[in-house]
Amino acid sequence: MWVYLLRRLAAGIGVLFVASFLLFVLVSLSGNPLAQLQANPHISPATIAAARDQLHLDEPLLERYWTWLTDLLHGDFGTSTTGQPVGPQIWPRFWVTLKMVIPATILAIILGVVVGVVSAVRQYSAIDHISTGLAYLFYATPVFIIALVLKDFLAVDVNQAVGHTVLYTIGENTPGIAGGWNLFVNSVAHTVLPVLTLVLITYAGWSRYQRAAMLDVLNADYIRLARAKGLSPRRVFYIHALRNALIPVTTVIAIDFATILGGAIVTEVVFGWEGMGRFLYEGLIGPVSPDVNVVLGWMMIAATAVVIFNVIADLLYAMLDPRIRYA
C-alpha cells in the first residue's frame, strides 16, 4: 500500500516537472511583457532596457527556465513585474481560493452522488427526468452565466424578500467587520453564491456518471444473487450496490478537479474575490502582460493541487475496489 502510494506520488512529481518546462516555454513565448512599455513614447529606451534586464529577457530561454526552476524548488516564485515577490502575494490568495473550492468540491460530490443514485434507483420517475433536464441545462451553461444569474437576479430577489442583505455578491467578507462569530457569519454569507456557482457547473456531470454506474451495478448478476439470497434491501443497496457504483465516479471527479480550479478564476472575477484566480487574471490583463512569474505561480500551484487530488482519488479507488493491485 505504501509502496503504491509512493509510486503514485513519484509519477505525479514527474508529471509536474514535465509540466513546469512546457508551461514555462508556453507562457514565456505567449506574449511580450515589454509591449506596453515600448508602445508608450514617453518611456525612454533606458527604462525599457532596465525592465528587459530585470525580467532577464536577454538570457536564453533554457537558462531562464533553470533559474526559475531552482528558485521555485527553494520556494521562491520570483518577482512580479511590479517588483514585489510573487510568493507572499499568492499564498494568502491561495487560502481565499480554497475557501471557495473545498466547500464547493465536497458539496458537489455529495449532490452529484445523491442525485445520481436517486435517479438510478427511481429510473424514469419524475425526479429522474428533472435531474436529466437540469444536467443538460448545466452542461450547456458557461460558468459566468450561472454566476451572473445568481449575482444579479437571485441575490437581489432574495435580499429584497428578506428585507436585508443575506447574500453578499462582492468580496470574501465585509471589510472592517469585527472578528469572531460575526466575521464567520459574514464570510459564510459571502461564500454561498460563489460556492453554489461552482457546485452547479460540476455536480451535473458527476450525477450523470453516478446514475450510469448505479444502473450498471443494479442490473448486474451479483445484485440479483444478493437479493435471491434474501439479504435485506438495505444491505444489498449499501454494501453490494452503492459501494461498487462509487468506483468509476472517483476517477471522473479527480479529473474534473481541474475544472473547478478553472471555474474559480471566472467566479472570483465575477464576485470580486481577491483569490488566486483573480491574481492570474490580473497577471494576464494587467499593464504588463503576461506577468510571467505570476501566471506560472498560479499554474504550478494549480497543477500541484490537481496532482495531489488525483493521488488521493487513486487511493480511494484502491480502497473501494479490492481488485486493484498495489504492486
Partner: protein
C-alpha cells in the same frame, strides 16, 4: 483488472474517458468507448448499410432532431439574418437603453446598438469559431492519435506527456494564456479558434489513439499486414473507418466545448475583441446593467445556452446512432 493509471491520462478501460472541461461545463460528456465501438464495427460490412442504419437511428432520436433543427435555424439566422435586418451590428441608432420593442426586438444597449443585430452577429462569430475549432482539432487529433496508436514508441510517449499537461493544468487557464498572446491580432476570431484547437486536439488524439491501440491487434489488420498493405493504406482505408463513430461524436462535442470556452475567453476580455462581437463579449457588456437593463444580459445568454444545448443534443443523437453500446448520458 489493471491498476489505476500511473498518470491521470490512463483512466483504465472500465472508466469512461471524459473530456474534462472548461469553465463552464462539468464534464464534456463521455467520449465514446472506442473499444466497444471497434468490437461492434467488425470487419468489412456494407459501409452503405451501416451508414443507413446509423442515419435511421439518428432520425428517430427526437432530441437530436430538435437539436439539429435549432442549430440549423441559428446558423441560418446568424448568417443570412444580418443581410435583411434593418440595422448593422455596428450601427449606432440614437436610441439608448430602450427595452425590447417592435423597432428593436431585443432592445438597445447604452450606446445605442440594436441588440438583435448584435446577437445575430455574435451568434455567427460563436458558431464559425466553434466549427473551425472542431475541424482543425479533429483532423490534427486524428492524425497524431493515429500515428501514436499505430506506431507506439516515441511518438506515443510524446503525445501522452503532452496530454498529461492538458490534464493537470485547468484548461481555461491554458487557453487564457494562449489567447492573451493572440488577442491583439487582426481577424481575431480565426486566431482564437486556432488557440482553442491547439489545446482541444489532445482529446481527439487520446480517443483515436485508444481506438488504434485496440484495432491494431485485430485480425483484419493482421491480415492486411500479411498481404503486404502499406501502413498508409491500413491506417486510412481500414482503421480510420472503423474508428469514425467515436471521432464524429467527439467532434460534435468539441463544437459545444469550443462555444463554451470561446464565450468564457470573450467574457474575460481575452477572446473576441471589439469591434467584433461574440455572445460572450455581449454578455460581458450587458452584465453591469443586468439589474436595470436585463435584456442586455438575457438575450445573448439565452442564445448561447440554446446554441450549446442544440449541439449537445446532436452529439447525443450521433452517439446513439453510431455507437449504440455507449449510452451514458441519456
Amino acid at each position: 483488472m489493471p491498476e489505476p493509471g500511473p498518470n491521470p491520462a490512463d483512466t483504465g478501460p472500465a472508466a469512461p474517458v471524459t473530456v474534462p472541461a472548461l469553465g463552464g461545463l462539468g464534464t464534456g460528456g463521455t467520449v465514446a468507448s472506442a473499444e466497444l465501438w471497434a468490437a461492434r464495427a467488425g470487419v468489412g460490412g456494407e459501409a452503405r448499410g451501416q451508414f443507413r442504419m446509423a442515419a435511421g437511428r439518428f432520425f428517430h432520436h427526437r432530441l437530436a432532431l430538435i437539436g439539429l433543427g435549432t442549430f440549423l435555424f441559428l446558423l441560418l439566422l446568424s448568417m443570412v439574418g444580418p443581410l435583411f435586418w434593418r440595422y448593422n451590428y455596428a450601427d449606432i441608432t440614437g436610441q439608448f437603453s430602450t427595452p425590447p420593442s417592435l423597432q428593436h426586438p431585443m432592445g438597445t444597449d447604452t450606446i445605442g446598438h440594436d441588440l438583435f443585430a448584435q446577437v445575430m452577429q455574435g451568434t455567427a462569430t460563436s458558431i464559425k469559431t466553434a466549427l473551425l475549432v472542431a475541424v482543425v482539432a479533429t483532423v490534427l487529433g486524428a492524425v497524431i492519435g493515429a500515428v501514436a496508436g499505430y506506431y507506439g514508441g516515441l511518438a506515443d510517449s510524446a503525445l501522452m506527456r503532452f496530454t498529461d499537461l492538458v490534464l493537470v493544468v485547468p484548461l481555461i487557464a491554458l487557453l487564457l494564456v494562449l489567447a492573451n498572446g493572440v488577442s491583439n491580432l487582426a481577424g481575431n476570431w480565426f486566431w482564437i479558434a486556432l488557440v482553442l484547437a491547439a489545446v482541444l486536439w489532445t482529446y481527439q488524439a487520446r480517443l483515436v489513439r485508444g481506438s488504434f491501440l485496440s484495432l491494431r491487434e485485430r485480425e483484419f489488420v493482421e491480415a492486411e499486414v500479411a498481404i503486404g498493405a502499406s501502413d498508409r493504406r491500413i491506417i486510412l482505408r481500414h482503421m480510420i473507418p472503423n474508428a469514425v463513430g467515436p471521432i464524429v461524436v467527439s467532434a460534435t462535442l468539441t463544437v459545444a466545448i469550443a462555444m463554451l470556452t470561446e464565450a468564457v475567453l470573450s467574457f474575460l476580455g481575452l477572446g473576441i475583441q471589439p469591434p467584433a462581437v461574440s455572445l460572450g463579449s455581449l454578455i460581458a457588456n450587458g452584465q453591469d446593467d443586468a439589474g436595470v437593463l436585463p435584456w442586455l444580459f438575457l438575450f445573448p445568454a439565452i442564445f448561447l445556452i440554446v446554441a450549446i444545448l442544440s449541439v449537445n443534443f446532436i452529439g447525443d443523437g450521433l452517439r446513439d446512432a453510431l455507437d449504440p453500446t455507449q449510452r451514458v448520458r441519456a
